[in-house]
């Protein structure tokens, strides 16, 4: 074999090796991230449901059907939890769960329970001011984002957590029904939209890995 041909073959081999290495890196990083955190699906589910729920709540207020609001939110909460758990079970069957992932799951369960208890309590008992309750919900969500940012080392989620904290400070100062409206917008822009971005990224990486044929679960030695 001539020197040029050998050199050309080496170039091709190195190029293939580099492409394979990058495909392995992409696949492993995505799988690793998913062991700790979902691929954005929960953000999309909660963000979309809460934003839609807020919009429908305002419609019910406008139509003087306020008594249906607690029913609406109960249905939204149960639907999101059931669909999320069902989706997770289908996708993660047989997959390991890291300690960080378990901590994250528990932290978000606590955030949802606290936020739901405070907002439902405020709405039903009238003990807390509605704006103040929205501020507490926002601060609870911020806590969830901080734990997520810590677990997955994500700057984007860290920045979002700061915005949720700001909501916790500013929402109690809003009069009347302004605070729930702003919280609805926050769930759309700070949860639903980032969730869509995360989902899109995860799907893009999965499709890239599919194209390079390296999703067989073994990195090789």
């Amino acid at each position: 074999m001539s020197h040029e041909k050998r050199e050309e073959r080496e170039r091709v081999e190195h190029n293939i090796r580099a492409a394979e290495d990058l495909a392995v890196i992409r696949r492993i990083m995505e799988s690793s991230r998913e062991l700790v955190e979902n691929d954005g699906k929960w953000f999309v589910l909660w963000g979309g449901a809460c934003a839609a729920g807020t919009g429908i709540s305002y419609l019910l207020i406008a139509l003087s059907l306020v008594e249906f609001i607690p029913v609406l939110w109960s249905v939204v909460t149960v639907a999101v939890i059931v669909s999320g758990i069902a989706g997770d079970r289908r996708r993660k069957t047989g997959r390991p769960r890291s300690i960080a992932g378990s901590i994250l799951g528990a932290a978000w369960a606590a955030v949802i329970a606290l936020g739901a208890a405070v907002s439902a309590g405020a709405a039903l008992a009238g003990v807390l001011d509605l704006s103040f309750a929205m501020g507490i919900v926002s601060a609870c969500v911020a806590a969830g984002y901080i734990v997520t940012a810590w677990a997955v080392r994500s700057r984007m989620i860290g920045v979002l957590s700061v915005l949720w904290w700001a909501g916790g400070v500013l929402l109690p100062a809003m009069p009347g029904y302004g605070a729930p409206a702003v919280l609805g917008l926050m769930t759309f822009f700070l949860e639903f939209v980032p969730g869509l971005v995360m989902l899109r990224t995860a799907r893009r990486i999965r499709s890239l890995n599919g194209n390079t044929g390296t999703q067989n679960g073994n990195a090789g030695a």
Partner: protein
């Protein structure tokens, strides 16, 4: 398969530690998370226990990862996390690979 194109490969610029694809995979797995347990990491990269110990030790010797041992529910658990040095070396390696392939915007440390 990406389009094959000419490039100048300089092996001296590539980190020898990552020449093993398993070590590369272990490091990549630790990039987007705070830490991972031994068994989780092993299953993720599809390695055997013996293989894992060998390659993890090599990464530790290079100062790219650190080990932490603790008890969870009375069971010993070994976890690994990436050091700053390891993160820098990995980023440099990915940059170099991307440069070979004439690409940009390859995986980074932040999600």
């Amino acid at each position: 398969m990406p389009e094959l194109e000419r490039f100048d490969l300089d092996h001296r610029r590539l980190d020898e530690v990552f020449h093993s694809r398993l070590r590369l995979a272990i490091t990549a797995a630790l990039v987007p998370v705070r830490e991972l347990e031994f068994t989780v990491l092993r299953d993720l990269v599809g390695a055997t226990d013996g293989n894992m110990y060998t390659h993890v030790k090599r990464l530790e010797e290079a100062g790219y990862i650190e080990t932490e041992k603790r008890f969870v529910e009375r069971k010993p658990v070994t976890s690994y996390h990436l050091t700053g040095r390891g993160r820098t070396a990995f980023a440099a390696y990915v940059d170099e690979l991307s440069r070979f392939l004439g690409k940009s915007g390859e995986p980074g440390a932040d999600g």
